[in-house]
């Protein structure tokens, strides 16, 4: 029994089909409870009610980065071990990641307007998120431009590797270029007292909820991609006979 067994599409379909309802339910419960709880938290004494944006902003931003990392791992598995499910999972993850990036940027803008007095500032964090969005868009555009599915998986895999290096490089290069308004990490292991517990626990819950939400969307989209592949194979067989 090894994890590579799930590289078999049939096995993947069976297992993912079995756990999907639970993941979806968990995502729904965590996200809804976390957001409601977050909405009912007391207002911050300086930021007022706008502080509640944090429950959307931080989980979305966290997932935007984590999804890219997941795509990187999936691309590596595809390039090294040629498991098709892995390539399809990377393909399925990209639009979710792009949407998470957009959510992070938009909620950030809505929050920035009352707090900093500006919708947009060329701050290192904001800028690196914009750059991340560009990488997502390029990645998705390449997937849709290449017709042969295996070539597309190979090319996007290589692009993902190169893009990861440059996304990281850009992230630190922009610090050199401009100092920012954005605060440091919202949550950190070393200094737990940065954020009041009133906000911290609902935030943990929404972060878990967004993680599960991504997992359920990813499973659904990967299953769709596998079915699409099967359909194409069936059609190809029809054409031959």
């Amino acid at each position: 029994m090894s994890i590579w067994e799930y590289a078999n599409p049939v096995k993947f379909m069976r297992t993912s089909g079995a756990i999907l309802p639970w993941v979806v339910a968990g995502a729904a419960v965590c996200t809804v409870t976390g957001l409601t709880w977050g909405f009912l938290t007391p207002e911050d004494y300086r930021q007022g009610s706008t502080v509640k944006i944090v429950f959307l902003h931080v989980p979305a931003a966290m997932m935007a980065i984590n999804i890219w990392v997941m795509m990187l791992v999936a691309s590596l598995i595809w390039l090294i071990r040629r498991h098709h499910v892995s390539a399809l999972a990377a393909k399925a993850a990209a639009p979710i990641g792009a949407v998470m990036t957009v959510i992070g940027l938009i909620t950030g803008a809505v929050w920035g307007q009352p707090m900093w007095g500006t919708w947009w500032e060329w701050d290192p964090r904001l800028t690196s998120f914009l750059i991340l969005l560009l990488f997502y868009i390029g990645y998705m555009a390449l997937w849709s431009a290449v017709e042969d599915p295996d070539s597309a998986a190979d090319l996007t895999g290589v692009l993902c590797l190169v893009g990861s290096v440059f996304a990281l490089l850009s992230r630190y290069a922009v610090f050199f270029w401009n100092q920012g308004l954005h605060q440091g990490a919202s949550l950190s292991v070393q200094s737990g007292e940065r954020m009041s517990a009133v906000y911290r626990y609902p935030l943990y819950l929404t972060m878990l909820g967004f993680g599960l939400l991504f997992l359920s969307l990813l499973l659904i989209r990967t299953r769709t991609e596998i079915r699409k592949r099967r359909l194409a194979a069936l059609q190809a067989r029809e054409m031959r006979t």
Binding site: I131, L134, F135, I137, G138, A141, L142, A145, V146, S151, D154, L155, V158, L159, L161, V162, G163, V165, F166, A167, L169, S170, A173, V174, F176, W177
Partner: protein
Amino acid sequence: MIALLRRDLRLAIRAGGGFGLGVAFFLILCALVPFGVGPDTAALQPIAPGILWLGALLACLLSLDRIFALDHEDGSLDLLATSPLPLEGAVAIKALAHWITTGLPLIVAAPLFGILLHLPGAAVPALLASLLLGTPALSMLGAFGAAVTVGLRRGGLLLSLLVLPLYIPTLIFGTEMIRRGQEGGDTGTPLLFLAGITAGVLAVIPFAAAAALRVNLR
């Protein structure tokens, strides 16, 4: 390898527009900017480093799709792939040829265009050094983008979408270096970063580009 380099250079020169076109585009860009922002020295001087670097970047981008497209069409790319020369080496040589035909003329012309944008003379060494160190990375990254999109019918737009985000670190350190040269500050730090990025790109990207080419030739 030298034969390949000479062939590419000869093709670029004889096809016309190899050397001149990028510089002409650069000149037009530098001439258009004052129309956009006004002719005052006070308005032009602070943005001159950015305009010069953006001009170099876009001029470089324009000729990228020619790195592999023509060879792919007439089949000589397949010959290159089956030749004893490793494809990584062929990619590096092609990027070098691209740099000699577009990057080098831009570097030679850049101080002249700096005068157009009222760039102070003190910043010219920084301008030359930053372009000299930065443009090889632009050509090499461009070769990667061209390798990824070589088989596609409408690769041109996609090529710029893929390549431009990769240019961001080079652009940041390049302009920062000229800006510091302009203000008489310390140009050493951005210089080292720029050199580091270019060295890393030259070492690693040929492998990625060759991998992409092999996929496209399959």
